[in-house]
Amino acid sequence: MSFQTSKQDGVVVVDVDGQLIVGNRQELKQKVLDELEGGERKFLIDFSNTGYIDSSGLGVLVSLSKKIREQGGELRLANLNEDLRTLFELTKLDTLFNIADTREAALSGF
């Protein structure tokens, strides 16, 4: 499980490798908040290599999205597989997030 951060076209891209769950969500939260503190405003979380997300993982995404919006920024999500899409639909969080099919689609729209 790891979170890789990179910068692409002025967007902070975070790759979630493994699970995003109660056992490691603080790490993602801290990484993104540090970047926000450092002045970054555009964020993309890429779930290409993500196994599953639990309710705490969803919670941290909601909380980050809110914090980023408060600073005039935006958080987008990309590359959700079928399982993850179902999860966002079940919880209706698909209505709260800007979810792109691919990383490129997410980046180009920013």
């Binding site: 499980m1 109660v22 997300i53 309710s55 969803l58 919670g59 079928e82 079940l90 919880t91």
Partner: protein, 159 residues
């Protein structure tokens, strides 16, 4: 898959013998994924597969473990969570028991209502109920029983 063998049932049919096993873990959130990975391996060997395993089972059981460790046992690592699994060709049955006092599981809010959509919590039991086919608690609420069928079940109209 297994084309060479004569096939009595559909491919990937489960072995006939029911099996059961149990784990007991300290309340340490880092153990949840380890436990889930093991449980999924065992279910896969028992020919469970697909989204029912990788989404419904994984997330449903992970939520139950997290609640048991966090709320039931107050994250006290000296307190344990017990996981009992029964596998048969039709279904997976999981019981998660914590050492806590339980809770009133009848009063649960709906996290998909617009006024709750931006809440950072309150989706755990909702996900359990959405993803699992049957969910029961013991009387006090420190033991949750989850059942997932191999195939998607027709949901009763009133749940």
């Amino acid at each position: 898959m297994r084309n060479a063998e004569p096939m009595k049932e559909r491919p990937g049919a489960a072995p006939a013998e029911p099996t059961a096993f149990a784990l007991e873990l300290p309340s340490d959130l880092r153990l949840i994924d380890t436990a889930i990975t093991y449980l999924v391996t065992r279910c896969r060997e028992y020919h469970f597969a697909g989204s029912r395993l990788t989404l419904n089972f994984r997330v449903g059981v992970a939520e139950a473990l997290a609640n048991a460790m966090i709320y039931g046992n107050g994250r006290d690592p000296s307190k344990r969570v017990r996981v009992e699994v029964e596998l048969d060709p039709q279904r997976i049955n999981v019981r998660v028991v914590d050492q806590g006092k339980g809770f009133d599981f009848t009063e649960l809010r709906d996290p998909t209502l617009p006024e709750h959509l931006e809440a950072t919590g309150g989706r755990g039991l909702f996900l359990i109920r959405s993803l699992m086919d049957e969910v029961d608690f013991n009387e006090c609420g420190n033991c949750i029983r989850l059942t997932l069928y191999r195939e998607k079940q027709q949901r009763p109209l009133a749940s």
